[in-house]
Amino acid sequence: MIYNEKFECMSLEELKNVQSERLKKTVSYVYQYCPFYQKKFASHGISPKDIKTIDDIVKLPFTVKDDLRDNYPFGVLSMPLAQIAEIHVSSGTTGNPTVVGYSKEDIELWSEVMARAFCCAGGLPGDMVQVAYGYGLFTGGLGAHYGALKAGMTVIPCSSGQTKRQLKIMQDFKPRILACTPSYSLFMADEAKEIGMDCKKSSWEIGVFGAEPWSDSMRKEIESIWNLSATDIYGLSEIIGPGVAQECTHKDGLHLFSDVFYPEVINPKTGKEAKEGETGMLVLTHLTKTGMPLLRYQTRDIIKITHEKCRCGRTSPRISKILGRTDDMIIVRGINVFPSQIEEVLLRIEGTEPHYQLVVERPHGGLDELEVQVELKESFFSDEVKQLQHLSDKIRDEIESVLGIGVKVRLVEPKTIARSEGKAKRVIDKRNI
C-alpha cells in the first residue's frame, strides 16, 4: 500500500515544483530564524533571493557534522528551545554529542515518513508491529513507534534485548511486522532454535531492518530462516532518524522521500555532483523541517542513486545500500562508534596517549561484537590478576557508558598492535558485510 500517494507518486515535474517551493521557504526560514545559517550565508555571500528553484541548491554551502558539534547545543536550532518538543542525541566524534531538536510538526513529519516506510515495506493499517529497536535517545525505537501508530497499526514497544521475551511475544501476539537491526533478527533465530522453536512458522511476514549495514546474502539468510520479506530502512538522527528511505516490496533500492528530504550525491573529495549511477556521498536537505532544518548536510554515507521510476509506482529516487563511509565511523549493533570516542576514554584513564585497536566481528547468527584491545602500560601492571581484571573492567565500564553498548576489553602486551607509518590502524572490521 502507498501511504501518501499524492507525494510518493507525484510526476517528476510536479515533484520538482514542490521541492523548489519548499526549498525557497526553508532557506528564507533558516535565514530569518537560525543564527548559524545567517552567519554561514553571510560568509558565502548568499541570500535567500539567490534561490529560485531546486537547482539553485548547489549555490548553498554544505553543512557538516562538525558544524553541529561546534555550535553545540543550540546553535543550529531554528526555534527557541521552549517550542522544541523533543530532543534526540547521537554520538559525536569527540566530546559533545550530536543533538537534534524536533518541533511538534517535526514529530508529525517523522510519524508520516515512518508510516510511509512501514507501508512501503508491505505493511497495512491494522497490522501489529513488534518494535525491537532501542527506545530513548536513540531514534530507532520511538521513530518506529510513532510511525506505526500514525499508520493505524498496533505497536508492541518491546525495545531491544530480552530475546526470550521477544520470541514469546511474537508467538503469543502474532505480530506481522518486525522492526529491528538485521543482525538482531539472526540472533533471535539462534535463540529460537535453542528453545526448539520452528522459525519458519513465525508470525512475522515483514521485517523492517536497519540502523546497521547488511548484505544481500544476509537478507537471503534472514528471509529463509524466518520465512519473511526482509526490507532495508535508512535514516540518521541528524535528518530525522529512521524514515529517510525505505525499500518497497520489489527491493530494488531504497525509496528516498524526496518531497521532504532532498538528496544530492557528491564526490566527497571535490564536492561536485556525482553522475547518475556513480557512487558518491549522500547529501540531504530538509525541505519541511522546522525545529532544526539542515541544508546540504553531508551524511558521510557512500551510496549510488537512481531516479528511474520504480515498478511499485513511486516516483521517488532510490538509493543503494550504504557502500561505505567517508570517515572512520563504524556502526555496531545500530550504534555509531567513532574511534576518537574510545581514545578519549583511554586517555582519561591512563593519562597518556593510549595504544588501542577496535576489532569488530559478526559471529555467524550473532550480534556484532566490539573488542577493544588496549596495550598494557607498565605503570598499570600488577602481579595480581584481579587488579588487572579491575583495570580492564574499569575501561570496559567507561567505554560502555560513553557508547551505550556492551564491549569486550582485552589487555594486550605492549607493541603488539600493528603500527603503520607511526599511526596505528584503529579499526579492524572482520564483518563480512
Binding site: I87, V99, Y135, G136, L149, T163
Partner: protein, 438 residues
C-alpha cells in the same frame, strides 16, 4: 514560598463527593459492560449473578464482584482479558509475571489518550508547565514508566528529552546544556546521581533543576528531604503500576501530603490482605483498584499487593480526590530492585535449568553506593567441576546472561562450595535483603 496551585481540569479534580460517586457509578456500569465481553469476566461475573451492566445499580454492588489477581492475568494470557476487537488495539504493554508468563495490558487509542490525560493532570498538579524542560530518566519500552511520562509531558507542551536510564555522565551533560527543569527517575538513581555529580565534574549550581518525580520503588520521607536539599529542588512522589496503565494513578500535588488517587479513573478500595474484608479509610491495608476508563483491558477489583493508608482530611490544594500515603510494603514476596519488579520464583526457575549448579541458591541484596546490587549465590555441582578457572568464569557469565534475560537486571553471580548455602528442603531463607531502606 509555595507555588501557585494549578489545575489541568479544575472541575474534574475538585468534583464534590456526590457528583464523583454518580460519575463513578456511570463509569463502573460501562466498565462492567466492557468486562463482560471477555471470557474471563463473563464467567466470573455470571457466577455472582451479574449478566449485564444493568445488574450494577449502586457502587455497593462492586462488593459482589470477586477480586482479580496477578495470577488471573497470567492465566488468561495472552488474550483472555481483551475486551475489544483486536483491530482497535494500538498498543500492548507486558510486565514480568511471577513465573515467566508475563501479564499483558492492551490499550485502544482512547485508553492511551485517557492515560496521557491523567499524566498531564498529575504533572500539572506539581506545577509543571509547557515552559519546562523534562528529562525522562526512566527506561522506555515495555516498562511503562518511560512512555507514560513521555506522552504526558509532550501533550502538555514541555520539551522532552527521552534520555532513558543509565549513562550518568551524558544525563548530566544534557541536563546542563538543555537547562533541564524537571526529571523523572527512581529514587535510588537520583541518589546515585547526587554521589556522582562532583566526580563527573559538574555542580548542582550550574544545573537548572526545579523538580523531580521519583517513583517505581519505595523510599522514605527522609530520602526525599536529602534529595531535595542536595539538588535544591522539590521532589514529588508518584504511584502507578502497569496493570493500571503505569504512572499517573496517584500523584502528589505541591503540598506533598500524600498522592491524589484519580478517583474519576479508578475506584479505590482498601482491604485486609488476610481476611479480604473491606477496611475503612483510617487503617493500613492492601490497595484494590478498579479501572473506570479503560476499554481494551478493564480490570475489576484488582489486588495491587501494595500496602498503603488513605490520608485523612482535605488537601489545601482543593482537589477532592483522596490521597494515599507512600507504599509501606507488599503483601507478596515481590522485590523491587533498581525500580524493576522481580519475583524470587523467576530467579529460581533460571537456576533450576542450569545443570552445573545445585538447587540451593540465595538472593542477596545490598546497596552499592546509592544503587541496588543484586548477588545470586549458587552452589557449584562438584561432578561438573573441571578444575579450569576459565570454565568457572564462563559458567558465571552464563548464569548472569540467563538471569538478565529473565529479570532484566544484571546480577553478580557467586559460586559457592556444595553444601555451603542453606538447604532447599528446609524452606531456607532465599532472600537476604540488607539494603537500608532509602
Amino acid at each position: 514560598m509555595k507555588e501557585k496551585i494549578a489545575f489541568r481540569d479544575a472541575q474534574k479534580e475538585c468534583i464534590d463527593g456526590q457528583a464523583l460517586r454518580k460519575y463513578q457509578l456511570e463509569r463502573l456500569k460501562e466498565t462492567v459492560g466492557h468486562a463482560l465481553r471477555t471470557p474471563f469476566y463473563q464467567h466470573r461475573l455470571n457466577k455472582v449473578g451479574i449478566r449485564s451492566s444493568d445488574d450494577i445499580r449502586s457502587l455497593k454492588d462492586l462488593e459482589r464482584i470477586p477480586f482479580t489477581t496477578k495470577d488471573d492475568l497470567r492465566e488468561s494470557y495472552p488474550r483472555g482479558l481483551l475486551a475489544t476487537d483486536m483491530k482497535k488495539v494500538v498498543r500492548v504493554h507486558t510486565s514480568s509475571g511471577t513465573t515467566g508468563i508475563p501479564t499483558v495490558i492492551y490499550h485502544t487509542q482512547e485508553d492511551l489518550d485517557n492515560w496521557t490525560e491523567l499524566v498531564v493532570r498529575s504533572i500539572v498538579a506539581c506545577g509543571v508547565t509547557s515552559d519546562d524542560v523534562f528529562q525522562n530518566m526512566m527506561t522506555y519500552g515495555m516498562f511503562t514508566g518511560g512512555l507514560g511520562l513521555h506522552y504526558g509531558a509532550e501533550r502538555l507542551g514541555a520539551l522532552v528529552i527521552p534520555s532513558g536510564s543509565g549513562n550518568t555522565k551524558r544525563q548530566l551533560q544534557l541536563m546542563k546544556d538543555f537547562r533541564t527543569t524537571v526529571v523523572h527517575a527512581t529514587p535510588s538513581y537520583m541518589f546515585h546521581f547526587s554521589s556522582k555529580i562532583g566526580e563527573l565534574g559538574f555542580t548542582v549550581e550550574e544545573l537548572n533543576l526545579k523538580k523531580a518525580f521519583l517513583g517505581a520503588e519505595p523510599y522514605s520521607e527522609n530520602t526525599r528531604k536529602k534529595i531535595e536539599e542536595f539538588f535544591k529542588i522539590d521532589v514529588y512522589n508518584s504511584y502507578g503500576l502497569s496493570e493500571m496503565n503505569g504512572p499517573g494513578v496517584a500523584f502528589e500535588c505541591i503540598y506533598k501530603t500524600g498522592m491524589h488517587l484519580w478517583e474519576d479513573a479508578y475506584i479505590l478500595e482498601m482491604i485486609d490482605p488476610e481476611t479480604k474484608k473491606n477496611l475503612g479509610d483510617d487503617t493500613q491495608g492492601e490497595l484494590v483498584l478498579t479501572t473506570l476508563c479503560r476499554q481494551a483491558t478493564p480490570l475489576l477489583r484488582y489486588r495491587t499487593r501494595d500496602l498503603t493508608t488513605v490520608v485523612k482530611g482535605n488537601c489545601p490544594c482543593g482537589r477532592t480526590h483522596r490521597r494515599i500515603s507512600r507504599i509501606a510494603g507488599r503483601t507478596d514476596d515481590m522485590l523491587i530492585i533498581s525500580g524493576v519488579n522481580v519475583f524470587p520464583s523467576q530467579i529460581e526457575q533460571v537456576i533450576m535449568k542450569i545443570p552445573e549448579v545445585g538447587n540451593n541458591y540465595q538472593i542477596y541484596l545490598a546497596k552499592e553506593g546509592a544503587l541496588d546490587k543484586l548477588t545470586v549465590k549458587v552452589e557449584l555441582y562438584s561432578k561438573l567441576f573441571s578444575g579450569d578457572l576459565q570454565d568457572l568464569e564462563r559458567l558465571k557469565r552464563k548464569i548472569q546472561d540467563e538471569l538478565r534475560a529473565s529479570i532484566v537486571i544484571t546480577p553478580m553471580v557467586e559460586l559457592h562450595e556444595p553444601g555451603s548455602l542453606p538447604e532447599f528442603e528446609l524452606k531456607a531463607k532465599r532472600v537476604v535483603d540488607e539494603r537500608i531502606k532509602i
